[in-house]
Symmetry: C2
Subunit: 224 residues, 2 copies
DNA sequence: GAACATCTGTTATTCTTAAAACAGAAATGG
DNA sequence: CCATTTCTGTTTTAAGAATAACAGATGTTC
């Protein structure tokens, strides 16, 4: 009833909790405290408790969280207790990698269709999936109830693909192309661009040895 | 002089600015305003101005920013005006994809070595690079001044690889494995895990038709 | 060359997120 | 069974980030 809006930061941490909980379960750990979790995940225990408390009282005072129960709860929150079909456009190396990766992660979240524009790729097989031409995108998305679209095509084609996904009715897009996609407000887009990651990492490198004075204000005096 | 610490959020936006500026330059656009940039990049113009102002007075009142000049400045801030050598461990599909991707992006930032533990992969070639065994990591990192390490190995092996990178002396790590790496504080780690991205996207999906109630956030009226 | 429009850099304000503090429930151990 | 420890959920406080507001340059137009 409380339409309390959950911060995006919180939502992004839930999968991280889930992942570790699954590992704990596999190791037959029955309960876990926010302290333990925090230590393992490099997060503040208070934050973890608060995150979880947004969604309900999952823990027990004096004990902690029941691992299996919490897994179920987080899965429910993330809608991973429903079938979530995913479609992917771009049967390149990255597309291949994603198909293999996500296969064994969650039974309910699955890549169920792969598309590409290049004739040479069409009808090849990735992970038991036939690569389909773009013309089949709309119908396949509808017929297979594909709700999330992954884009792994070159930057120049990404917007076009996004438009097709949106028109076909997907609800969210995970975009690996280095562009900012324009989509209607009700579509959720997340950009996973590793060039951005790499470039921003470079910022934190130590300055080069040979006395680059770096006159400007931002000079970090930190040397090895 | 001002040891003003720059927010991580700011640093993460710089590559996005840079990318768009490069595109503008290619289209021979000479100047650009924060307004224009904001519109293209879905960001608040004030934020863009503030971000850039942290590092200097790059713009001119009444005009905006000189595209070429701003490119040079951001490249400098991100240390992309120096050679930044990158090493990659994990010659799988994802590793392949990254090697191809980053090749044409910036002359100074380059993947210069690829490693893998699997004997079958060793001595194969990716993008003109010989895949080297892990035993060669330390020496190669040192001899080639590799400063950033990319990890694209399965989750279970990631920490081990990270340890080797750290020992060899890299300054930053880009980790694609779904684990939280433990590294010394002076090493910068960024985790680029798309399972996290995908799972958090699922949160924003509409609830399935038959359970429209959505009474409370915590109530588990979860029906498929 | 004055009036107007443009656009930055900076300051002020609002909004959001993280951390700390704490009361209360559950278990444990003598 | 009482004291102590553990650990949650919530409240309070602090920190941080985004947005808005505005003064000061710059250019343009008539």
């Amino acid at each position: 009833m409380k339409t309390l809006k959950i911060s995006e930061a919180v939502v992004r941490r839930l999968p991280i909790y889930l992942r570790h909980l699954l590992e704990l379960k596999q190791r037959e750990v029955l309960t876990v405290s926010s302290q333990d979790l925090g230590q393992k995940l490099d997060l503040n225990p208070a934050q973890i408790r608060k995150d979880l408390a947004y969604f309900g009282d999952f823990g027990r005072k004096g004990i902690g969280y029941d691992v299996s129960y919490l897994i179920e709860q987080i899965k429910h929150i993330l809608k991973l207790d429903q079938k979530v079909h995913v479609g992917l456009v771009g049967a390149g190396k990255l597309g291949h990698a994603l198909c293999n990766y996500t296969v064994y992660l969650n039974d309910n979240m699955k890549i169920v269709a792969v598309f590409d524009a290049q004739p040479s790729k069409i009808n090849t097989t990735i992970n038991n999936l036939r690569v389909q031409p773009m013309e089949e995108l709309q119908s396949t998305v509808i017929n297979n109830r594909i709700r999330i679209g992954i884009i792994t095509v070159p930057a120049l084609e990404a917007q076009q693909v996004a438009d097709q996904f949106v028109e076909a009715g997907v609800e969210a897009i995970l975009n690996f192309a280095p562009v900012i996609l324009k989509v209607p407000a009700h579509i959720r887009v997340h950009t996973a661009d590793f060039t951005t990651d790499l470039f921003s990492l470079a910022y934190y490198l130590q300055d080069d040895e040979e006395g680059k004075d770096l006159v400007t204000h931002d000079d970090n005096i930190n040397r090895t």
